[in-house]
Symmetry: C2
Subunit: 353 residues, 2 copies
C-alpha cells in the first residue's frame, strides 16, 4: 500500500510501516526513545511492535491508565515528570502506541516537552487510524470539555498497521467505523454506500486507506481549520457535547466517541433537513444506517439541557455563536450554519422517535 | 522609534506601540479581549494601558499571583478554567501585561487554548522587554526545572513601552540589565563597553532598542535554536540551575533571573578562559563589571552539588551531554562546548574568590 503524504510527513501502511520506521530511526540520532502506552497496548501491541524494530536503541516505556477520563493535565504532568526523571532531552523521540487518547495526548506531551521533541504516532484502534492519524491535532480535555487544551503540530510519521485491530472488541471497531461513515457523508456518497453494505470488519485495509485519503485531502487544503476543514466536524458539535456529558455523568454508562457522534450525526442530519435542504429520503437513510449499528441512547429532559449547556464550549464557536456543519445532500456539506434555538429539542425528538 | 520586524510580527516602541495596537484591534474582529495581569501590573500598569485603548471592546481581566513560583501548570489550569467560564473562544485575544512570567506563561496559555488563540505581549519589566519580547519562546516550569514545558509560537505583536519601567524597583531593573550586558558579551564588544559605563537607568530607550535588535537578529537566523540562537544561552546553563535551586530551596533568598545569570556569566567566562581562549584581562573585566552591580552570592558545598545535579535538566543538553556556550573573546561566542567535570568546582572557586 502506497504511503500517503501529508503536510510535512507521511502515513505508512502495514508492510511499509516498519520499513519506514526502521529507516527513520537509523537515519536519526535520537538520544532515547520513549514509548507511550496504556495497559492495553502495553500487553497487546507493544510486543508485536518491538519485534519489528531493527537495531539497538535505548528505550523507556511509559504506561498510563487507559481511557478518555485520563486524557488530562494530571496525566501529562506525570508523563513529563517521568520523562525528566528518565533524562529525556531535546533529541529524544516519543512514540505514541495506542488509541486516540494516547496519540492525541502523547502528541501534546511531545509538542510541549522542552518546547517540542519529535514524535511518531502508531494508532492501534480503528478510530485513531482513520481519524487521529492525519491533521496534526493534539490535545487533552479540561474538566468536561473535550480537547480544550492542545496545539496543532505534526508527527515525524504515522504508522497504520491493521493487524493491531485484531486486539479490539467489536464495540471499539464500530466506534471507529462511525468516523468512516462520516467521511462518506461529508465527501463521497459512493463511499457511504459501500460502507453501509459492510457486514463485518475482516478486510478493512482498503477502506482505512480511503478514509485516511479523504481526511488528508481535507486537512491539506486547510491545516488550521479556517474553512473547509470544518466539514470534518459534522456530527461533532452535538456529538462532543453528548460524549462529554456521558463521560462526566455518574448515572450514565460512558459512550465511545463513535457512538456519541453517531447520535450527533443523526441529529445534525435532521437539522440539515430543516435548514439546508437535505432530503427526507437521505435523512431516513442516515438514521436507519446508524441505528442499525449503534444502540439507541436514552436522554431525559435534564440530560438534554445539560448537553445543550456544554455545547457552548465547543471549539468551533466564536462570538457567542455555535457554528454547525450541515449537509445539503450526502457528500455535500455546508459550514458555519447557525441553529434557531427551538430546533435543538426537535432534533432530540427526531432521534428519540 | 522605528518598529522592529521579527518572524511574523513586529515589536513596536513607545509612541508607536499604542498606535499599532489600536490599529490592530480595529482591523481584527476579536470576540473578547482577555488581559492577563498579576497584582502588581493590575495596579501599576493596567490603568495606564487601558487609558490608551481607543474603541469599545469586551474585556475580561484575569489576575494571577506574581512571581516565578506561580509559573506552573496549576496556574495555567486556573486561567484556562477562568477563560472557559468567561466564554473565551477561538476568536478571543489574549494580552499579556507583565514581566517574563506573565509573557512566557500567557503565551503558553494562549498557544494551547483551543489549539491556539492570538496573543499580544506587553512586557512591563526591563528583563521581559529585552529578553522575552522576541523569539516566540513560551513556557512554564515543571517542579524545579525552568521552562521545561512550552512551545515556540509567535505573538501578533509586542509593545515595548518604557514608561512601565517607572513602576519597577532598582533591583528589578538591574536584573533585566544583566541580559543586556549579555547581549554585549555575545555579540558586540562596543555595546558591552557602553553599557558598563551606564550609571543609572533614566534614559534606557536607545539601549532597550539595541538589545531587541541584537536578539531579533539572532533568533531570525535560527528560530528553533539549532545553532546560532544558542549563543543567547551564555551564562544560562549554570545560571538557570542556580536560579532553580534558589527558587526551590527554603533556606535561601530567591534570586532574580538576572542576578542568577550574572553569577552564571562570571563562571562561564571562567570556563571560557580555561577552554576557549578568553583572555585573563577580559575575564577580569567581566567579573568586575558584574560584581559591581550584583551582590555576591554565597554557595555551600551542598548548594554546589545540588546545582550541578539540576544542570542535567537543562534544555540545551542532549545525549547525556551538557552543552555550554562559551566566549573566545568578548563579542565572539562558541557553542556546543563540553566541560570536563573537575572544572565546575573550579568555576565556583573562581567566583567565590
Amino acid at each position: 500500500m502506497k504511503s500517503i503524504s501529508s503536510d510535512s510527513y507521511a502515513v505508512h501502511f502495514n508492510e511499509n510501516a516498519f520499513k519506514a520506521l526502521n529507516k527513520h530511526l537509523k537515519g536519526a540520532d535520537y538520544s532515547k526513545i520513549f514509548i507511550l502506552v496504556d495497559e492495553n497496548t502495553h500487553n497487546l501491541c507493544l510486543p508485536q511492535f518491538m519485534a519489528e524494530i531493527e537495531g539497538d536503541y535505548v528505550y523507556e516505556i511509559i504506561e498510563i491508565e487507559a481511557g478518555e477520563i485520563h486524557k488530562n493535565l494530571e496525566t501529562c504532568t506525570q508523563v513529563w515528570e517521568a520523562m525528566s526523571e528518565l533524562d529525556a532531552d531535546r533529541k529524544s523521540l516519543m512514540i505514541n502506541l495506542g488509541g486516540g487518547v494516547i496519540t492525541d495526548m502523547g502528541g501534546f506531551i511531545a509538542s510541549c516537552f522542552k518546547r517540542g521533541i519529535h514524535f511518531i504516532n502508531v494508532p492501534t484502534t480503528l478510530l485513531s487510524m482513520v481519524d487521529a492519524s492525519v491533521g496534526g491535532k493534539t490535545g487533552i480535555d479540561l474538566g468536561a470539555i473535550k480537547n480544550q487544551i492542545g496545539v496543532i503540530n505534526q508527527p515525524q510519521m504515522v504508522l497504520v498497521v491493521s493487524q493491531f485491530l485484531n486486539t479490539l472488541e467489536e464495540r471499539q471497531l464500530q466506534s471507529g467505523f462511525a468516523e468512516m461513515l462520516k467521511h462518506g457523508l461529508i465527501k463521497e456518497k459512493k463511499y457511504w454506500e459501500e460502507l453501509k453494505l459492510l457486514s463485518n470488519f475482516d478486510t478493512m485495509d482498503e477502506f482505512i486507506y480511503h478514509s485516511v485519503q479523504i481526511k488528508n485531502e481535507v486537512v491539506l487544503q486547510d491545516p488550521t481549520e479556517q474553512n473547509i476543514r470544518k466539514i470534518l466536524n459534522f456530527g461533532h458539535t452535538l456529538g462532543h457535547a453528548i460524549e462529554s456529558y456521558f463521560l462526566e455523568s455518574s448515572s450514565h454508562e460512558t459512550l465511545l466517541h463513535g457512538e456519541a457522534i453517531a447520535v450527533g450525526m443523526i441529529m445534525e442530519a435532521f437539522l440539515s433537513k430543516e435548514l439546508t435542504g437535505l432530503s427526507e429520503k437521505e435523512l431516513e437513510d442516515i438514521k436507519t444506517t446508524f441505528l442499525k449499528r449503534y444502540k439507541k441512547v436514552a436522554f431525559t429532559e435534564e440530560d438534554i439541557q445539560a448537553i445543550l449547556g456544554l455545547m457552548k464550549f465547543d471549539k468551533k464557536n466564536s462570538h457567542g455563536n455555535i457554528n454547525f456543519v450541515l449537509l445539503e445532500s450526502i457528500g455535500n456539506p455546508v459550514i458555519d450554519i447557525k441553529i434557531p434555538n427551538d430546533l435543538y429539542i426537535k432534533a432530540f425528538d427526531y432521534y428519540k422517535d
